[in-house]
Subunit: 270 residues, 2 copies
């Protein structure tokens, strides 16, 4: 792994960094294939939206972008960008004087072709997502809910878990967004109250729209997911994994899943 | 400031530490006066409960305690203990092999005698607390809600802000718990759905019980707080700050506030 902290090669940060103390920051994880970062602009745009929502200094994104521009990307890798509010005195108040910390890492990545091809088993997590519209959508560093949900199983035959919000509505996977198909319509949960607005989720919605297919975004019940004909999960690294089993429900790998996988594959190889 | 990471003097941690990546950890902030940590056992017990809830390895608390035992505490200081799940590979799954990180710092502390004596102004924060019973009470490292709430004001004449949960019930201050008195009864919000279970909060409830005074713990409305006769906030560092103004409401510094302040003062000076 190669890593830089504030533009300098380093692998540690100050223990007074607010990223560590309070999870006061954001991150992005970007797939690099043949030296090209996939959906780069979309990731940078989401990071910018997050920085705005967390009221980071307006120049933060430029600082990050300049450091990213200096990277010499090669081959297949994962580019991870973490931005925190930097080192500050004890206490929650964000101090206006501190410079945000930028942590950039490049590490190797072995995608799971088998999962993409033959699909995965999904489980239901008992750890719920708290409801908090002000923090919803953001890929911030407060990720204990995901950690606890992912810690619920170690069975390697289960690749992902579905998380419900505290009211019992399905929202997303522990590390992915979820879509399903029923009666020839595509559905994905609304993220207005919780959940991470995945760059890949938004990209798939755009790809479908370009094909003339609208996605229904709303509040759905767990039964809707169980009764679906086709289910898949997605994120920027894994692309799209078809779901073939979710608890007692089984699904065929359907035409929308294969259509989107094909469109993604074309983008990445081009 | 003096700091130790895993028992060794150091002031930085690995950028792959899960405390930074996900806020996967807990912290305690302990007041040391004349070399004596106040409510030490209660802090260690709460840390232990948190480690259990987050499913840290069972030996973690012993590891921390042994390092705390080696400290040479002197004078008036703040002892901060942070425990994270340690360095791990990318991904939310807690890996069973990683050793938890222990970060211990000792720093100077100047308490605010004026606030204790003459009281503070309180404001209402617009940033709410998300509801998530599984994470409620814990002093974990996912503190973005508090950061955003505390970032809402910079007026030095306002010392604390009240946070409501997303349903609009008052829960706590950004860095304190809250109590109020009405018709000779003492009230504090239930923390079953969100909020941090402060060591000082629990201690004050015990002190009152020892005086034959029960505290009503429940779900209250903002109006209850406005209509109270006496209001105070507390935490382990500040002790008790009387509230003299909250938005349009004003309060006298009452007998329960002064009683508890007196009891605390006796403990700390003894």
């Amino acid at each position: 792994m190669k890593c830089w902290v504030n533009g300098i090669e380093a692998d540690s940060i100050d223990i007074a960094d607010r990223g560590l103390c309070y999870g006061d920051g954001l991150f992005e994880t970007i797939l690099v294939t043949n030296g090209t970062p996939h959906l780069y602009n979309q990731h940078i745009l989401r990071l910018g939206r997050g920085l705005d929502r967390l009221r980071f200094p307006p120049e933060t994104l430029d600082l990050v972008s300049a450091e990213l521009d200096r990277l010499d990307l090669k081959g297949d890798q994962v580019l991870k960008i973490t931005v925190t509010r930097g080192v500050g005195p004890r206490g929650y108040a964000p101090s206006s004087g501190s410079e945000p910390s930028r942590i950039i890492t490049l590490s190797s990545y072995a995608g799971n072709d088998q999962h993409r091809l033959t699909g995965i088993n999904l489980r239901l997590c008992s750890q719920p997502l708290g409801i908090n519209p002000q923090l919803a959508q953001l890929k911030h560093l407060n990720r204990l809910e995901q950690v606890l949900a992912r810690g619920e199983w170690s069975d390697p035959d289960i690749a992902e878990g579905v998380m419900l919000d505290v009211d019992g509505y399905p929202i997303e996977g522990t590390m992915s967004n979820i879509f399903w198909v029923a009666s020839n319509k595509i559905f994905t949960p609304d993220l207005d109250r919780c959940g991470i607005q995945g760059v890949m989720r938004d990209h798939l919605i755009s790809l479908l729209r370009a094909e003339g297919i609208e996605v229904d975004i709303g509040r759905y019940n767990l039964d809707d997911l169980h009764l679906a004909e086709e289910v898949f999960v997605c994120n920027s690294l894994i692309g799209i994994w078809p779901v073939i089993q979710f608890e007692a429900s089984t699904y065929a790998i359907g035409k929308y899943t294969r259509l989107l996988q094909g469109l993604l594959q074309k983008e990445i190889s081009s």
